[in-house]
């Protein structure tokens, strides 16, 4: 599978603070990739690096095959970018803003921009300052498509939008842009929107990737196995469970043990039932993205890391 973005062992320092700490991530071509993490995890810093606005202090990143440090002009010419802060010129009308963008872009296709302006139903001749926040986001997205990019990088594109405007934005993103084969990389705080529209997710924490996988695959392979023992399980047995290759973490409360497991959970459940300790109940719990996110945030520094 070809990669639209390949980040390897990326390190970014802000003075003494390490904002990105050995981050490794691959975004396949054609994916809608949801980039998640708590505040300060390094999402925006990573995005700035991808756009060549910040040089790596270690490691490397390639965007559409171009090195972000040495070929940042090539990257910027081929990537559409929408930032969380709207940086459109309020005093211009939409046609004036388009003319300005055409002047500063090496390649510009006004017909494409006009089409998206129409798709979003934006008032064609309006002054930018008059537009609602939702309309401004839609305009920014339309303009980002003017250079006919293969990859769109969106930094919290729906933050501050009301639910209706957000739905409209995401709907067009999916139906018009992703369906046309473009790769979309977007950061977000809203797990529910990522869960709906993304087919890949990457979760970062403390500048590192904790998980990067196809969302459906993640849901299929990451489950919680809830074991209820007949008698209080022995510490040695808990250690044995923790050491099983498909067990990622374990927590215990009395006779109940919760295992975060990946891979073939049914086989794991069978293997555990064959062990010499009586179980009253074995329950497999499906996890949605919010559950998964919280499970990953719970894990300590020594918690497992996966990037398969």
């Amino acid at each position: 599978m070809a990669a639209a973005i390949e980040i390897e062992h990326l390190i970014i320092n802000y003075g003494a603070h390490r904002a990105v700490d050995g981050l490794t991530l691959t975004v396949p071509v054609g994916a809608i990739f949801g980039f998640l993490g708590p505040n300060g995890a390094g999402k925006t810093t990573t995005i700035k690096t991808l756009l060549g606005l910040r040089s790596p202090d270690g490691g490397s990143a390639r965007v559409l095959g171009y090195d972000v440090a040495s070929q940042s002009l090539d990257v910027r010419a081929r990537v559409g970018y929408v930032s969380e802060v709207n940086s459109l010129y309020d005093s211009l009308t939409i046609p004036q803003l388009c003319a300005f963008c055409r002047a500063v872009n090496r390649t510009w296709n006004q017909a494409v921009v006009d089409r998206y302006i129409q798709v979003f139903g934006l008032p064609a001749r309006a002054r930018v300052g008059r537009l609602s926040k939702g309309m401004k986001s839609q305009l920014a997205l339309s303009l980002a498509l003017g250079s006919n990019p293969d990859l769109l990088i969106l930094d919290e594109p729906t933050s501050g939008l009301d639910p209706l405007a957000r739905h409209e934005f995401l709907n067009k993103l999916v139906a018009e842009i992703a369906a046309a084969g473009k790769t979309i990389f977007f950061s977000s705080h809203l797990l529910s929107e990522v869960e709906a529209v993304a087919d890949w997710v990457g979760i970062i924490r403390h500048g590192k990737v904790v998980v990067c996988d196809e969302l459906d695959h993640l849901k299929q392979t990451q489950k919680v196995l809830k074991l209820t023992y007949a008698e209080l399980p022995l510490p040695a047995e808990l250690e044995a469970l923790r050491a099983l290759p498909t067990v990622m973490s374990l927590s215990q409360e009395g006779r109940t043990v919760r295992l975060l497991a990946h891979g073939d959970v049914a086989a794991l459940a069978e293997a555990i039932q064959a062990r010499p300790y009586a179980l009253r109940d074995v329950d497999t719990v499906d996890l949605n993205l919010e559950d998964l996110f919280l499970e990953y945030m719970k894990e300590g520094e020594h918690g497992p890391e996966r990037t398969d």
Binding site: G30, A31, I32, H167, L170, N171, V174, A175, A178, A179, S192, E195, A196, V197, A198, D199, L215, D216, H217, K219, Q220, K223, A278, L279, R280, V285, D286, L287, N288, L289, E290, D291
Partner: protein, 137 residues
């Protein structure tokens, strides 16, 4: 959107699995018939606001099961209904569940006789109510 489609992105069940299951169910109950056309990937992505790749994955899986076929210029067509194969699977699953119940009973130290009388009582209750003999306890 077809009425029989109702996906929930916030479920722990992968979206493409939900799509596959619901389309299979529509075939089972006859809501979808052989020769009928499924929505295009773009139409469905737009209706449901979900990633086009997810729909492609569901359609691929259904094609692999021999239930639908995608033809260039024609679209995606239903080629087979399920003629009760789901029902057969559900029947097999039922007997497995009975087995699991008995295993659970053994774990809970409920003996054979107690299980049998519980089953008998449950059967009596169900069929008496079904026959309208609600006076019987």
């Amino acid at each position: 959107m077809p009425q029989w489609l109702d996906v929930n992105p916030r479920s722990g069940v992968p979206l493409y699995v939900q799509l596959v299951e619901q389309i299979k169910h529509a075939l089972e109950i006859g809501a979808l018939q052989p020769g009928e056309q499924l929505p295009t990937v773009r139409q469905l992505a737009s209706e449901l606001t979900i990633a086009p790749n997810t729909i492609v994955k569901a359609y691929d899986e259904l094609a692999r099961l021999g239930l639908i076929e995608s033809k260039a210029g024609v679209g995606t067509i239903v080629v087979m209904n399920l003629n009760g194969t789901l029902r057969q699977q559900q029947r097999a699953a039922f007997f497995e569940r009975v087995q699991a119940l008995i295993r659970d009973a053994a774990h809970l130290e409920i003996d054979e006789e107690q299980v049998r009388s519980a089953f008998d009582a449950a059967l009596r209750r169900f069929y008496h109510v079904a026959q309208g003999e609600e006076g019987a306890k």
